[in-house]
Amino acid sequence: MTGKARTPRGFVERTIDGLLHAMERAVSAEAGAAGAGWIQRLDPRVKLAGLLSLVAAVALSHRADVIAALLGLGIALAIASRVPLATLLSGVWLAAVGLSGALALPAVFLTPGRTVATLPPLGWTITAQGLTSAGYLILRVAAAATFGFLLVFTTRWSHVLKALRAFRLPLVFVVVLAMTYRYILLLLEAAHDMFVARRSRTVGRLTAGERRRVVTQSAGVLLAKSLHLSGEVFLAMQARGFRGEVYLLDDFAMARADWLALVCFAAAAAAAVWVGR
């Protein structure tokens, strides 16, 4: 054993990391939803309608300062909901905003318009329109991603689905979404176990073709498992009396604080759209 030697991280390790990350995110979202922040206490229908209306306001606004104000509102809501800003930073901004920032950078030079500066070594011109356009993109991505993150990290997934039903989404879609989420967790675990088992039985280095075969075989096995599982789930559902009809227990009740929050969300979204038109 050479303890200090660094093993190159292969595709199996990266896949395992990705699967673990998805499972961790699901667990931390459920933990966040059980917290005692302001948004957590609201009726899920209010949260869904309110936060989605703010996402729509971000898209509809034509002014960068208004979008920046919406982002500020998102951060304030995160603090009020006791969502750790470090989680927001690592879970949302580094990924979404970092990628969009990289994508928006060339626009600073490529967008035609009034020149505000020139990059000395290359002679590339930076335009005001390019800077504004990059600003729009980054601010919109950051603000919308923050509201989306807040929805999931302050609401149990089952409550999000129930709230969707309150907005007349067809029942079959709601049930499929609920079951899909449940079985995503199961299949993530199954895929994780498969890759760990495979890695523990692999000695030496695999050729490129063998590595590809490992992945495609794993996907094929997972597909077969999914098919098998769907048959078993169907039989289990039938055993419990399932005849194609699905019922949900809609036990949400709006309190005065919920109505007030709904009015606040609607007012903030409407103001952003009006001022930013």
């Binding site: 626009a107 993109l137 991603a145 989306g148 995503i184 996907a219």
Partner: protein
């Protein structure tokens, strides 16, 4: 590939939600008919599978790795209807739960990847695989090509959606409000990565899994193999069978809406006549429609040369003997739609005859 919020205008997002909705509706109706009470568990499991398989890291030639969407794989195993719904469901959960793809852009992502991806994969797979046996290596090639074509068709559509944003949506200073790159930049930038890394990842994943299924359980490939190849119980799952009534109703509805075209003012962009280049009013309309870019002083040589090659019998959508342009427009629309329907019906009849003779041949050979 997953478009985040902020890249597309609300109008584009709404249009693509509206574009995806009829496909969801038709797919759901078809699946309800074939699966009945099995619909919910089967669709959920396949959506979950699609979600998980998108996270697999695929080693590619050259030492790099990539991710596959798995849309062609879902289409080949499940059929296009189930694939549209399964991939859409996976995308909804990705957008809401994992922040992968925007909530406002969800319709666009579903349209590009789930709808167009599934349909392109289905067409390419059926065209290349033909009537080859389920265990044939030709099916592996067809599956790989279907994956490659599907992901690139989705990427091209995404790039075009990006590319039209700066043309249509700018603020008062001229700065693009959403995606800042025009088509000339968005298409090559997007396609470079998809024609190489992402396309090959999809090709490897789809072809590889189909090859694996051929060795382990070839019956899973029967759903989209064509009626004559295998008649298994899986073939009902989103395959060729199903009522076309909803599509006919949609087509009829669109035909009824045809006179709306009369309400549109001005000329369609790019549909200019050579005489328009000399007409000051037409030149003004062309400049306005081209974001302030004035047209050349005279009609381009190529346009002038080719304009006289073919004269349409219903030029300007109105037969010369009709005085009312409104009636002429409506009659032309009906005539044109009738011709298209006639051609499609003719091709379908020929294909049916060929399919019947092919089925008889297969049955004999078995």
């Amino acid at each position: 590939m997953h478009i985040p919020d902020g890249y597309l205008s609300p109008g584009t997002c709404a249009a693509l939600y509206a574009g995806a909705a009829p496909f969801w509706w038709v797919a759901l109706r078809r699946l309800r008919k074939t699966l009945h009470t099995r619909l919910v568990p089967r669709l959920s499991l396949f959506a979950a599978f699609s979600f998980v398989v998108m996270m697999f890291n695929i080693p590619l030639p050259g030492g790099t790795t990539g991710h596959a969407v798995g849309v062609a794989l879902a289409t080949i195993v499940l059929g296009p209807s189930a694939s549209i719904l399964a991939i859409s469901t996976a995308l909804v959960i990705q957008a809401f739960f994992f922040g992968d793809g925007g909530i406002t852009a969800l319709g666009a992502n579903c349209f590009n990847m789930a709808v167009v991806g599934s349909l392109v994969a289905f067409l390419v797979y059926r065209a290349v695989a033909g009537r080859a046996p389920l265990e044939s290596s030709r099916r592996v090639v067809a599956a790989g090509l279907a994956g490659y074509a599907a992901i690139n068709a989705s990427a091209l559509l995404t790039a075009l959606e990006f590319g039209i944003q700066p043309l249509l949506f700018r603020d008062a200073s001229g700065a693009p409000l959403y995606c800042p790159y025009p088509i000339g930049i968005a298409v090559p930038a997007m396609m470079l990565g998809h024609l190489t890394i992402a396309g090959i990842a999809e090709l490897v994943m789809t072809g590889g899994v189909v090859a694996f299924l051929q060795r382990t359980d070839a019956a899973l490939l029967a759903a989209t193999a064509g009626r004559g190849v295998v008649a298994s119980s899986n073939a009902e799952f989103g395959g060729a069978a199903g009522s076309l009534r909803p599509l006919w109703i949609t087509l009829g509805f669109l035909l009824v809406l045809t006179p709306l075209g009369l309400l549109a003012g001005g000329a369609a962009w790019g549909e200019w006549r050579t005489s328009d280049f000399a007409d000051p009013a037409a030149r003004d309309a062309m400049t306005a429609a081209s974001l302030g870019h004035a047209p050349p002083a005279a009609a381009p040589g190529g346009l002038a040369r080719l304009a006289s090659v073919w004269t349409a019998p219903l030029s300007g959508y109105a037969p010369p003997f009709l005085r009312s342009p409104t009636v002429g427009y409506a009659l032309s629309a009906m005539f044109g739609a009738g011709l298209v329907l006639l051609a499609v019906t003719g091709v379908a009849a020929v294909l049916r005859v060929r399919q019947r003779s092919g089925t008889a041949h297969d049955t004999e050979s078995v």
